[in-house]
Symmetry: D2
Subunit: 337 residues, 4 copies
């Protein structure tokens, strides 16, 4: 009997997410005052932020742009050698873009695009956060003081990317980067892969690929930040509501991922999730959980159903094409995410 | 410039813990009725249990014995090849005991002892839990129904082992098994390693080695089970108090690990922790956090100080030897864990 | 300057609610196994239950009947003299029914109907709960052990009653019983009183009167039980979902009352709310908060909107009359509760 | 059989507490930045604050003074007539001081001293808080926006006062003001009344009288502020710890009152409690719960025992007198509160 192939264990974690925003000041207000993140650096058209529990100097980059959406998604490898291996694997696919040297808070990175065209990079060297006096925690193993301003997100968690061809993108990150498939939504008796949730760590997913029903290109569905308790998610709902931020969905419990979530749009237009709960996956032989149309249902285990906008809207926003219109009509009732 | 050595990524997770108990029926009552675990099998002098979120068939084995303590600690590898590599590494140290074939819920395992003498094993094959109808969850990605009986622990988390020589045992699991050091308590200006917390996954620690101040042998300090929210820990305190179970410490917040904890003794005498919070470690170049006498303080970030019994008591209980008496007197004020 | 009239302070609290059920065994399962209440007595077609924090022997009576709905609602007075005063006031309205002597757990009561026809009673004498050994708490000021079975509701909180004429019923309890108006939904520029929430204690409301859009008679909208924390409401959602109980709405936050709620139907058909949060009202000159169509909105502050069934369904269920159909069409969009 | 005397129901609630502080700026920082209260007015040596859920304009007055302690404690009546009745009752005891006209946020008040000498006042007229635009909540029934700054205390809850003669002070508020006794600590087989907890509303206690073992005069043990969930108390511990505020006790659960508490000293020296949980008392014939030495135990149901300072320290601080020394030695082991 042949043994299973050994897993690729070269990616350590999601390192950084760049969000594009046409309203940089208001976006900064949202992430700093409402979510309680710290701004550690500003340079050119970008601001660099962090959650109070993030080990790295910065984990979120906000960049001014004409339209919202996702900029570069950065993945950290477990070692310099692992970086070399993954770069070689990506280059072999022809999707590599080349090395970039000047990264705030990180060493050089290798940039590439996933098959859908989302910009990504791999890197190993990273600057650990050293708190200035006013941000120094009284808890030695906490990289930064808990500031008790707004929500107080602890760290970045994951992001969901839209694409025209889910299996193609899913296989790319599985094969070139070593992501493991955790859950899937499969329609038409398993023939249509609507969405796939994958991770490199025991965290349920660091990336999800979901079909873009409007036929857009390289779009972001949402970016997610972690809080430690469900009670923090409820408190976040109060904070967003008090500050006039539109809450699109939640607080509710996903069936997929079991997470307790709250979705709002930051002023630049990107969908942001405040996220807790979920479950960790340790099994090396994890069998992906699949959901068909009936099982997927309204996309929630309990709590209000996900609204239509949850499918229709992503960043940058695009008008529906004729083709996507047809796809949409052919699809079963929402929501699919 | 030489590159850092590549990390060993062969151990997937803590798979199973065996606890010895002189009062098997009462211990079963504690784990089943109060903590809300399920009994999936009984065989010989052992009962096999699981938390509702555990992927494997069983994660806790309760075995009748003359004295309490820890039996065999099982570590699962990421692949059959990884199992071979780790077995070879352990065998090279002369601490290997040999293969064991008949394991309920798991394939064959390789048994060994850590330098202190704690019995451990490595294995890869494991039986995923298939819930019988009465335990089937309505949530497809949950291995088992949440029964809402007692505390409702989700999964096993970690264990703390006492030993005479912390660095020796710490180095053994680092070098032979690939554990990464997360935090350390170092006294005497770094010369005395009082305790070390290590893990193979982003979970803060799956094992801790702490000095046995009474000079015992192969003893257990505590075994820890996870709940999803701090509120569940508070509820656990009510449940234990209502059922006459002695609460030794907590609910309080550790400084080390940042976890929110509650310690009680199960009727067999073993110290059990209900545990939540803490933080995940993703950085491949994590710098271990070290605590000296002053920083370690009372062992808590806030909440009642850990009591003297927290150092003095472990299972099996032993009378203090003359030597240990001397060690104890030479040591700074407790607590050290 | 004339002084304000002195408040009537004669009613102490909601003492007991009787629910009718066509499925007594299944209803009992719901309240005992899922909500975690205790059955203290069974007699004739009725079972008597209590929450673990209820001071009285029993606070919920479940009675077998052809259709679900509310039976008798019992209000306790602050003294025997207060009982006499309120009985006199009620008798003067012609709505009195007379004294009833044989009440399990309570002394004699005076029965009457509110203008809509809901059966109610006033009483003073009540049997404090004396826990049998197996229900004795280790906490001296807790009437009963916290059993950690299912949700674990602490006490009864309030009920919402439907009626054809809200102001008439509202004025009856204000004037004859001393209820104070807390919040109101007023449509048509204040001309149509859609619902009123009233209480005799600082608890936000012990009773709500809401318009019956289907023109039924003496119907129950919902009965509500208290848990101490929002986290308990979330846990309740898991428990109901795991046991196949239909969750109609929530967990979400009401705008009116600020409460965190979860609505399900017990097997007999009655809508039951698990309830926490809200706010206490201490001001003797409290100005009722009023909500117009726009302010009322979807009836939630955040979380999923209340579904159409939340208006359309009550117990006993009735077909819509022509008149109610007309009313319904004339009304603005739901929800009104 | 004679009927029980009718209860006095003239006091509506605790309206305001004045705290004296030798460090007004630092105290203001504590209440505003850490506890998240709003400063609504400053006048003379005083600042007026409020919790976000307080109905009145102000509920806490901070006054600069040489030593910390409690200033005037204000009780609101249910009506102008009730005010007259209670003033007459107090005046008859000879403890009345007279009317005071100029009160910020309130109408005229009648000042008096309790038998121990604590300054108190009765009033009826009060200014409801009208939020300025920047403090306006999006939730119509919330007097003020939830600011998400620091702890975010919702409202004031109660205070504990020290005295030389507990029964004398307890009887005074029972007989003249209508307070109802909720719980008591009685030592020496019931002969020594160590502490009594009383309230006029269903809230467990608005005032506690506890013996002053150091023989001080008119001292404050602690002042307590409410948060809605136990999770908020845990979060408060993180906030205080991060800001270098000494946490004296908790988060833990009292046996008396069942409340979940956290005690710290504000920079002026007064002991402040962050408080949630507890239970409401609705029964008009509530039987006070009494605790003897053994039952009282360490003063907690679970969590760290109350420290010695919890008895020894109060504001203003005083040296122990010889007499108090003797009393102290004659008393059983702490803690008594």
């Amino acid at each position: 009997m042949s043994q299973p192939k050994e897993p690729i264990l070269d990616i350590a974690h999601l390192g950084n997410v760049e969000l594009m925003t046409p309203k940089p000041e208001q976006s900064l207000w949202y992430f700093r005052e409402l979510l309680g993140m710290e701004v550690v650096h500003q340079e050119g058209q970008s601001a660099y932020l962090r959650g109070y529990g993030d080990y790295a100097t910065t984990t979120l980059k906000l960049t001014e742009a004409k339209a919202p959406g996702v900029g570069c998604v950065s993945w950290r490898t477990v070692s310099p050698q692992a970086l070399e291996r993954r770069v070689a694997a990506v280059q072999a696919t022809g999707l590599g873009l080349g090395w970039k040297e000047d990264n705030f808070g990180r060493g050089r990175s290798f940039r590439f695009r996933d098959p859908e065209g989302h910009l990504m990079e791999l890197y190993y060297e990273e600057q650990k956060f050293v708190a200035p006096p006013q941000l120094k925690s009284t808890l030695k193993n906490l990289p930064q003081k808990y500031m008790a301003r707004g929500v107080g997100v602890r760290r970045i968690d994951h992001l969901a990317l839209l694409c025209k061809d889910v299996p193609k993108n899913r296989r790319f990150v599985e094969e070139q980067l070593g992501f493991k498939l955790r859950e899937q939504v499969l329609f038409d008796q398993g023939r249509t892969e609507i969405g796939s949730w994958l991770s490199v760590t025991p965290v349920h997913h660091e990336v999800a690929y979901v079909v873009d029903i409007k036929g857009g290109s390289g779009r972001l569905h949402h970016f997610s930040l972690w809080v430690d308790n469900r009670e923090d998610v409820l408190r976040a709902a109060d904070i967003l509501a008090e500050n006039g931020v539109f809450i699109e969905a939640g607080p509710s419990k996903h069936n997929n991922s079991q997470a307790f979530y709250l979705y709002s749009y930051e002023p630049g237009g990107n969908r942001i999730e405040i996220y807790s709960g979920s479950y960790l996956i340790f099994a090396p032989d994890w069998e992906p959980v699949t959901w068909n149309e009936q099982e997927r249902g309204t996309g929630v285990y309990w709590g209000g159903a996900l609204p239509e906008s949850f499918i229709a809207y992503a960043t940058p926003d695009v008008p529906a094409t004729d083709a996507s219109q047809a796809t949409q009509e052919a699809m079963p009732a929402f929501p699919i995410y």
